[in-house]
């Protein structure tokens, strides 16, 4: 099991786990989102081949009102 932080919430995922799988487990499947791991942007095309590591901090963001 990997202990990661998703949007600053602790979460456990089955290893190995790519970004696509993480998104599903985090409940953001089919949604309009963007992802960063440890503060670095991860492009969609990299989701499959990018593995989540122990203690990664993942940001999953969605559109919101802004000024």
């Amino acid at each position: 099991m990997l202990n990661v932080s998703v949007n600053n919430e602790v979460m456990q995922v089955q290893a190995p786990c790519c970004v696509t799988q993480l998104i599903e487990q985090a409940g953001f499947a089919q949604q309009t989102i963007a992802v960063a791991i440890n503060g670095e942007f991860i492009a969609k095309r990299m989701y499959q081949q990018t593995q989540i590591n122990q203690n990664d901090s993942i940001d999953i963001v969605k559109p919101i009102g802004g000024g």
Partner: protein, 268 residues
């Protein structure tokens, strides 16, 4: 004159806009109110942002759908970022998600006045321009900072009028005026700090090309009517600028002719 109205366009990175009003999408009492305010504003270019959401309070894509339905061009911001690195990564996420290279670049230097950090801002602007972004930096009215951002390749600058959300208006007209006099080759947009339509009108009278605001509309008692008020004010200020304001005079001068004044007599 009508002609002018249709021909006097705002050009940002080679793209033209007939509206000079950039509107924010936060702080409205409801999404419907937001949509009506956007419609009333006539804005063609609206700002929005990216934030984390917990799966539970997850509303799916409702807000996102609503925004798309406005048909407006989108200007994602990097609000809240405190370093060039954060801003650059959030900009990349925005570019992918919103499928646009346009970015309102915010790098906050202080939690108290929410002012731009001149140093991180220039670093982030340089990098994002290099990566092909169309950067609209939220900056101060510091002339040297503005020249550095222009040198970095920014084709439009957005100096503040006053700190975000204060509604204080154009706090430093002297500096803003000389900024406008010195930077004439690219558009300048007053971003943040405006609280009333007359302040927006004054900005355009001074020769600024557009205004970007959010709080003054969203926090009005009637945001929809206020959006319309700002739209009119911005148009009035632009026309006032183009029409050439009268010279301000120190001493009074009669409008009604003095010659031929009745009841006046030599022997008086």
């Amino acid at each position: 004159m009508e002609q002018l109205a249709t021909q006097d366009l705002l050009t940002l990175y080679d793209e033209t806009f007939s509206s000079r009003f950039l509107l924010g999408t936060a702080l409205y009492r409801s999404p419907l109110e937001m949509c009506n305010a956007i419609k009333a504003s006539g804005s063609q270019f609206i700002t929005l942002s990216l934030r984390r959401q917990n799966p539970e309070q997850n509303d799916g894509d409702a807000f996102w759908q609503m925004i798309k339905d406005t048909g407006c061009k989108l200007l994602p911001n990097t609000a809240g970022c405190k370093s060039a690195k954060e801003a650059i990564n959030l900009a990349e996420m925005s570019r992918e998600l919103f499928e646009t290279p346009w970015i309102k670049l915010e790098v906050i230097g202080d939690d108290y006045n929410l002012q731009p950090d001149p140093f991180e801002l220039v670093i982030a602007a340089k990098e994002l321009i290099k990566r092909g972004f169309k950067v609209l930096p939220y900056c101060t009215d510091d002339l040297v900072l503005c020249m550095r951002l222009r040198d970095a390749g920014c084709q439009v600058l957005m100096p503040w009028g006053a700190p975000i959300g204060t509604g204080q208006g154009l706090l430093n007209k002297y500096h803003l005026q000389s900024l406008r006099e010195r930077i004439t080759d690219i558009p300048l947009i007053i971003d943040a700090g405006l609280g009333s339509p007359s302040q927006a009108s004054a900005a355009l009278e001074m020769g600024f090309d557009a205004v970007l605001l959010n709080t003054a509309v969203a926090k009005a008692d009637d945001p929809v009517l206020m959006a319309k008020a700002f739209a009119l004010a911005i148009e009035s200020g632009r026309y006032g600028y183009l029409a050439g304001l009268m010279q301000r005079r120190q001493t009074a001068s009669a409008s009604t002719p003095v010659l031929g004044q009745p009841f006046w007599h030599q022997n008086k």
